[in-house]
């Protein structure tokens, strides 16, 4: 959005932006403590919340220590078991940047929850226990982050106090994590030594030894989160606008009927949706897929006035020059794009299976992709990821995928999808699978 067309320029929001972060790490790596520390030291924990945590800490651990992990484990069952079961979302702000933090559980049986938390993240923090070094979970979580197209991975090497801030130890972990991330093609990697329990190098620097000198290349964890650049991650090349809702106040049918006074809206027809990729501008030629009809963008409308341009993730209403047939599920794409390549009836995808009932070849499921829901058939399960070795191996004995398995499948869909590979566009490359019998969301998928 250009400054000229920005409808509001409030004093705070004009500069603040939003970073979506997910945490990952093994169960005892201290994730909840780290998040508690981030919230606490950045002064985001308010008095009454802290009092509750202090009371609960005393009940659980006796007088003395404040258990910051109790700030985040919210459900009865989680407090009972002392573990994180489900994704929790936390919010904190440092003035010029605000954070949505998806706190995901570390247990291997909650792989699906890590996938859920990471699906919307710009950056993933992978916790590593300095004593343990790189373990299977580190590899697994880094792999899942790369699978989900996360371009920024920060390894927080925790519990450095328990290894006396041993530089050798840190360097070994740094080398290993960097090697893994590079192998996976993650473009932006940082390795930061911390002690979440003592609060060293998380928000405040504290007593960090001289081998991690105080300069721009050796930030605290929070400083890194505040300065990492993610705006360029968005797909600004390929115009993708899935039509979500047709606004037709003058339409004879539907619940969107015209108000009596608004007779001039009789011919109004706007296509509402959220931009998934590219830059939309009035006058640009576009194609409506899957039909392939070509027209031009006449206006980009919002409640606050028209815009000169729209990019992801803006929700806008597009008007087209010609009176063409467009409905929910259609996608506006660039005039020069290869329609045949974009409309897919068959494709391969990596899926994370999230249901107790296994995925089997031949299975029929509902597939939701952008604003289209259609029937899909699993033609084949091509492979399965061995979450221990990270090798792609043959499907299980029955030829399918079990709960928390990640594997590549081949799908056929009834209505063609206007889709990109996930690596090109995280919105038009993603889908969920729904069990028609139970209505449960049983998988998240990424088109390859």
């Amino acid at each position: 959005m250009t400054t000229a067309t920005t409808p509001h320029a409030g004093p705070v929001a004009a500069t603040a932006d939003l970073l979506r972060v997910a945490t990952a790490g093994s169960v005892d790596d201290g994730k909840s403590t780290l998040i508690g520390r981030l919230l606490y030291d950045s002064k985001q924990v308010l008095v009454d919340q802290l009092e509750q945590v202090q009371e609960a800490s005393v009940r659980r651990h006796g007088a003395g220590a404040v258990d910051l992990s109790l700030l985040t484990d919210g459900l009865r069952a989680e407090r009972e078991q002392g573990i994180t079961i489900d994704v929790a979302y936390r919010y904190f702000t440092t003035g010029d940047r605000s954070f949505i933090l998806a706190d995901t559980p570390g247990h291997v049986q909650y792989t699906r929850n890590m996938v859920t938390g990471a699906s919307t993240a710009d950056l993933v923090i992978v916790l590593v226990d300095a004593r343990q070094g790189v373990i299977e979970q580190t590899r697994r979580h880094t792999f899942i982050a790369s699978l989900l197209g996360i371009r920024h991975v920060t390894f927080a090497v925790n519990k450095m106090d328990l290894v006396d801030w041993d530089e050798e130890r840190f360097r070994a972990i740094e080398a290993e994590t960097t090697r893994i991330a590079a192998q996976l093609g993650i473009p932006d990697i940082h390795v930061i030594p911390i002690s979440a329990l003592e609060g060293t190098n998380v928000v405040d620097r504290g007593d960090v030894p001289g081998w991690y000198p105080e300069d721009a290349d050796h930030p605290t964890l929070l400083r890194h989160l505040q300065t990492v650049q993610v705006a360029s991650d968005r797909n600004l090349t390929d115009v993708r606008f899935p039509v979500q809702w047709v606004i037709r106040p003058g339409g004879a049918v539907g619940r969107d009927g015209v108000r009596a006074a608004d007779a001039d809206l009789h011919d109004y027809r706007g296509y509402a949706g959220q931009v998934a990729g590219g830059v939309l501008r009035p006058g640009d030629e576009v194609q409506v897929l899957p039909s392939g009809v070509r027209t031009r963008i006449a206006r980009i409308e919002t409640f606050d006035g028209d815009l000169d341009e729209a990019t992801a993730p803006m929700s806008v209403t597009v008007h087209l020059q010609d009176d063409v047939d467009v409905s929910r599920g259609d996608v506006l794409v660039g005039a020069g794009d290869d329609a045949a390549a974009l409309c897919r009836r068959e494709f391969e995808a990596d899926v994370c299976w999230m249901s107790d009932r296994p995925l089997r070849p031949g299975q029929r499921l509902l597939l939701k992709h952008t604003t289209t829901t259609t029937v899909a058939k699993v033609d084949a399960v091509l492979d399965r990821l061995d979450l221990h070795t990270l090798d792609r191996v043959a499907p299980d004995a029955a030829g399918g995928l079990e709960l928390n398995d990640i594997g590549r499948i081949r799908l056929r869909v009834k209505r063609p999808l206007v889709a990109d590979p996930y690596d090109v566009d995280r919105t038009t490359g993603a889908f969920i699978l729904v069990d028609e019998g139970t209505n449960d969301t049983v998988a998240g998928g990424m088109i390859r």
């Binding site: 959005m1 509001h8 409030g10 929001a13 500069t15 932006d17 939003l18 308010l46 008095v47 009454d48 919340q49 985040t72 484990d73 919210g74 459900l75 009865r76 069952a77 407090r79 994704v87 929790a88 936390r90 919010y91 702000t93 605000s98 949505i100 996938v115 859920t116 919307t120 360029s232 991650d233 797909n235 600004l236 090349t237 979500q244 809702w245 606004i247 037709r248 106040p249 619940r255 969107d256 015209v258 109004y268 949706g273 959220q274 919002t302 409640f303 990019t311 993730p313 929700s315 939701k368 829901t373 690596d423 090109v424 919105t427 993603a430 969920i432 729904v434 209505n439 969301t441 998240g444």
Partner: protein
């Protein structure tokens, strides 16, 4: 992926790279959620209490659906113990928008014998807070609503932090925190089993400060009780309660006239005021930015009952 993105960063220059501000990103997400519900569910409703969060929802609905009408009515569950200023505001706002308002009265539920009145003027601390749940569930059933928009936010409370944007409720309106559908990307699964409905929280990812900043940026009109005004109050359990026909001072309590405002709008019998002289939106934003106590902790007695009070009520069908 690396190659594709490398092209992107070099190919595009200028303002498009700058990205959205936080509030506009949250706004865009909320509009997307509302349009998904309108498109995929049959009979949605928007719960409008006259409070600041639902006032924000109304603005978001305007942004999502204008110049068309809202594809849903507004619904208010009225305990009968609400602030007059808020009820006036509610009716005026619905009329201005030209949208349908359905008021479900807890008193009607009580009169029909479906619940006992939880409020007893003689019993200190009593309220109709629990009874709201039954009235809401009855209203959902009567109008066959399959989706209800609510203005709840995840920053409000620990159990809320775990709740999805699409929150499924069973036949009894109950929430099962251990059996929530995964919610990936911006792909919401709105399919219902028979008897189920879904509570949808478009501003889940907003904080209290975001709401106030948005109200300030949008210059939204609020009920007067959100701004400092003189009011007769009594101090009870560390909170300031407005004296009203439903809340009389107990013996030993003194009525004080103080300059107060409200951080949340709710039933008079359980909603506390805060001492304040903030009379403009800018003043309020500054106060909220500096506060050291959460909204619910400071002003909602119903959350103080136990460590998991909110979770327990949600499991039973509360919003």
């Amino acid at each position: 992926m690396s190659d594709a993105t490398a092209d992107v960063t070099t190919a595009v220059q200028g303002p498009a790279v700058a990205g959205l501000s936080k509030l506009r990103a949250l706004e865009s997400e909320a509009i997307h959620v509302m349009r998904e519900v309108a498109a995929e569910l049959e009979r949605p409703a928007l719960l409008f209490s006259g409070g600041k969060d639902s006032i924000v929802l109304l603005r978001l609905a305007e942004k999502a659906f204008r110049p068309g009408r809202f594809p849903f009515p507004l619904v208010h569950v009225d305990t009968g113990h609400n602030f007059d200023e808020v009820l006036d505001f509610r009716d005026r706002r619905a009329a201005e928008l030209g949208e349908r308002l359905i008021v479900a009265r807890v008193q009607d539920t009580i009169d029909a014998g479906r619940v006992a009145d939880g409020y007893d003027p003689a019993r200190p601390g009593s309220s109709r807070n629990q009874q709201q749940t039954q009235t809401l569930l009855d209203c959902i059933e009567e109008h066959r609503f399959d989706a209800c928009f609510g203005g709840a936010r995840r920053d409000e409370e620990r159990a809320r932090a775990k709740e999805r944007i699409f929150s499924f409720r069973d036949d009894f309106g109950g929430w099962d925190p251990k059996n929530q559908r995964p919610e990936l990307w911006n792909l919401y699964n709105g399919r219902l089993r028979s008897g189920e409905n879904v509570r949808v929280f478009p501003i889940s990812n907003w904080t209290e400060l975001d709401v106030w900043q948005y109200i300030a940026e949008e210059r939204l009109v609020l009920p007067s009780i959100y701004f400092a005004h003189e009011r007769e109050v009594v101090r009870r359990n560390g909170m300031l309660y407005a004296v009203s026909p439903y809340l009389r001072p107990h013996e030993g309590e003194t009525v004080e006239t103080l300059s107060v405002r409200y951080r949340t709008v709710g039933d008079l019998t359980i909603t506390g005021a805060v001492e304040s002289t903030a009379s403009t939106l800018e003043d309020v934003v500054a106060e909220i930015a500096a506060t050291r106590v959460t909204e619910r902790g400071e002003t909602r007695a119903d959350d103080r009952v136990s460590e998991a009070a909110m979770e327990d009520r949600k499991v039973q069908g509360y919003f």
